[in-house]
């Protein structure tokens, strides 16, 4: 037979191989460009303040008692308050605070403690507006007052993502607290109890369908049922309930995988020792499946962190730390929804990218954590 067309074969082989390399290079390049873009735009904005500050700046009126302080040569130093001031773009902020400074015991309008901090901006001293003043002038103004106490209007600068970080954590906890037990119980039912038949098929069909529903539909559903009908308003509970349904398939199937890994002989010997099914589940099956369940949870966290469409219309977009489960004070933006909001409302891609950097780090940490757990688990099984 013909064995002559070696060249043609070599050429087509080379071409296909080229395509393979090209595709891989493209995939890797895409990832690199995306990460590069995010880092390039976002890294400059990421710093400690970005992480720990509130999103909105916050104004407060405080009363501070003066102390007997020693004068100094530094005109920006206010001995009676134990603080040093500094200028920055037309504003005057607190640069240093002594350890025994009375501003640490400042009281707000309701006479609650409101401790002043570094970088708080002073905009009013008693009834004098400080707009346009220099640090020295403000210091002189404060020292000029002869009263025993002084009233300041301070702005604590915002621009940080603390509220979103905390809201994200709240939603993660809430969602896992709801979906975790239900999902794990479902998996136990499916793997340990269910008999083949119509019920099982129905449940599996439902789970597979849930897994395929796009998150915008979950958003529609959550807004209609939880936000509107159940009157929870935009709230972390409405968001968490919506996400719980969305996460069920992920948690169930990952847990089921873990349960399937438990050898049948363990179940048999447990029964053989007179254990009931429940005891066997509690003492043998669940502990054995724990690493898998943990991985399921981490997968869940990953999806919660990345979710936007299902949360925007259920948990809302307010940058605050929620202090209840439902109602106006429970409305909260997660990092991802805030990122979206930011692009849409302000077009501020840089700050959005800074949030994206934080998200990326979170996702990487989660990926590594699930890898570690799996590896630890495998090693344990392997060596023994």
């Amino acid at each position: 037979m013909e064995k002559s067309n070696w060249n043609k074969r070599k050429w087509s082989d080379g071409f296909l191989k080229g395509l393979i390399y090209l595709s891989t290079a493209l995939t890797v390049a895409i990832l690199a460009v995306i990460i590069g873009f995010i880092l390039y735009k976002g890294i400059p904005g990421v710093n400690l303040n970005f992480l720990v500050r509130n999103w909105d700046s916050r104004t407060t009126f405080v009363n501070v008692n003066k102390q007997a302080g020693e004068a100094s040569t530094n005109p920006k130093y206010v001995p009676s308050l134990g603080i040093t001031l500094e200028d920055e773009d037309d504003t005057v902020y607190i640069k240093e605070i002594e350890s025994n400074s009375p501003v640490r015991k400042a009281l707000n309008m309701k006479e609650q403690l409101y401790e002043l901090k570094k970088s708080d901006i002073i905009t009013k001293v008693d009834s004098e507006n400080t707009k346009g003043m220099k640090a020295e002038e403000v210091a002189a103004l404060i020292m000029g007052s002869s009263d025993a106490a002084i009233r300041l209007k301070v702005i604590r600068p915002g621009g940080g993502i603390m509220p979103m970080l905390i809201s994200t954590i709240y939603i993660i906890i809430l969602t896992l607290a709801i979906a975790g037990p239900i999902g794990i119980s479902s998996a136990i039912y499916l793997n340990e109890y269910a008999k083949p038949g119509r019920v099982l098929r129905l449940i599996r069909f439902a789970i597979q369908n849930l897994a395929g529903i796009p998150s915008i539909i979950y958003g529609l559903f959550g807004m209609l049922v939880f936000v509107q009908i159940a009157k929870m308003q935009y709230s972390i509970l409405a968001g968490a309930l919506t996400l719980s349904i969305m996460l069920l398939p992920t948690i169930i199937s990952a847990t089921e995988e873990a349960l399937k890994e438990i050898p049948k002989v363990y179940r048999e010997s447990s029964f053989g020792l007179g254990a009931t099914k429940l005891q066997t589940i509690r003492k043998i099956i669940l502990p054995g499946a724990l690493p898998g369940i943990l991985v399921a949870m981490i997968l869940g966290i990953g999806r919660i962190v990345g979710e936007s469409a299902a949360l925007i219309w259920t948990a809302g977009t307010v940058a605050q730390i929620p202090i209840s489960l439902v109602g106006g004070e429970a409305s909260a933006a997660t990092l991802t929804t805030k990122m979206y909001w930011l692009i849409k409302e302000t077009g501020d891609l840089s700050t959005a990218s800074s949030i994206a950097v934080v998200l990326l780090i979170l996702i990487i940490v989660l990926n590594v954590a699930s890898k570690l757990i799996t590896r630890l688990f495998l090693r344990k099984k392997g060596t023994n």
């Binding site: 595709s23 895409i30 479902s186 449940i203 439902a206 849930l210 559903f221 979206y340 891609l349 990926n367």
Partner: protein
């Protein structure tokens, strides 16, 4: 030998009740998924179908074939959105499946272990990146790039959507294809090589055909993901209020973004119409899901027989 008390009577009494109770609890939890699906269908459909019944019913035909969405003037047409969604998904599949498959081939068949150890986590990372970030990337990189070449002078377009969706489905396609390629028995490779096939020929003529149902599953999942994607797409689609896309540079308004864009504020009939859009989307997804379930069960039975 001393007898331990537990032998005598405690057991059956002890075991009965909690056993039954927990069996019940587990069952109820398992049914939660079923209830959720039913509730979702019930609520979304009942609200979404409302505008087509009753006194001032909107013609469903007008809705489904309509070319313009202008709630202010009581015009609700979704056909041009369906077209946009389908075209965008199609484009993403046409680009994403070959690229993803070939990358999977590289990882499974060609790359040395050390390289795999780098590329695989990278692809997992790609899968974990929130879609909003892809949207930001689309807005910051892809749209400006298309701006430069588009005859319409604008970057927000079908093409931009296709690019972003392609990127978003890549991880799904790659990881599923890769595992199905790895699952192809070694004997097929040996047989092919033994017949004088080169490695590349073996991959394309023996391995990929043997992995085809896994690849098909990956494709269907990719379709589901692409058609359901919302936030990333909304930022870059253009979201025009009417008209079929004429070229790859035309704007589109996918079904998902139609919902997302107006959901926050719509009320009354307008809101119902957004749910109706959701119903259309849901029907698409259901078809895809059922295809997928059929495929995976076929795949499962194939796996056990060979």
């Amino acid at each position: 030998m001393k007898k331990i008390a537990y032998k005598d009577n405690k057991i059956s009494k002890r075991s009965e009740f909690p056993e039954k109770l927990f069996h019940g609890i587990f069952l109820v939890c398992a049914l939660a998924s079923v209830l959720s699906v039913i509730a979702i269908i019930l609520f979304v459909f009942s609200k979404g179908l409302k505008p087509f019944f009753g006194d001032d019913a909107y013609s469903f035909l007008k809705f489904i074939t309509g070319m313009k969405w202008d709630p202010g003037n009581d015009i609700y047409g979704v056909f041009y959105m369906i077209a946009g969604s389908v075209l965008a998904t199609l484009g993403a599949i046409v680009l994403g499946v070959p690229i993803g498959l070939l990358t999977a081939v590289f990882i499974a068949e060609i790359a040395p272990k050390k390289l795999v150890a780098i590329i695989k986590p990278a692809i997992e990372l790609l899968a974990g990146i929130p879609s909003v970030i892809y949207g930001a990337f689309g807005l910051g990189v892809i749209v400006p790039a298309i701006n430069k070449i588009s005859p319409t002078g604008q970057g927000e377009s079908l093409l931009a959507v296709i690019c972003v969706l392609t990127i978003m489905i890549l991880p799904t396609i790659i990881s599923l294809s890769e595992s199905s390629i790895r699952a192809v028995p070694k004997s097929y490779r040996e047989a092919s090589l033994g017949l004088g096939a080169s490695k590349t020929q073996t991959i394309f003529k023996a391995v990929i055909p043997a992995a085809r149902s896994g690849i098909l599953t990956a494709t269907v999942l990719g379709i589901g993901r692409a058609i359901g994607e919302t936030m990333a797409v909304m930022m870059i689609a253009g979201n025009n209020i009417g008209g079929l896309p004429k070229s790859i540079f035309s704007k589109i308004r996918p079904l998902t973004t139609n919902i997302a864009m107006e959901m926050g504020y719509a009320s009354g009939k307008h809101q119902d119409m957004l749910f109706a859009t959701g119903v259309i989307l849901f029907v698409f997804i259901m078809v895809i899901n059922i295809t997928l379930i059929k495929l995976t069960s076929r795949l499962g039975s194939q796996g056990s027989s060979s």
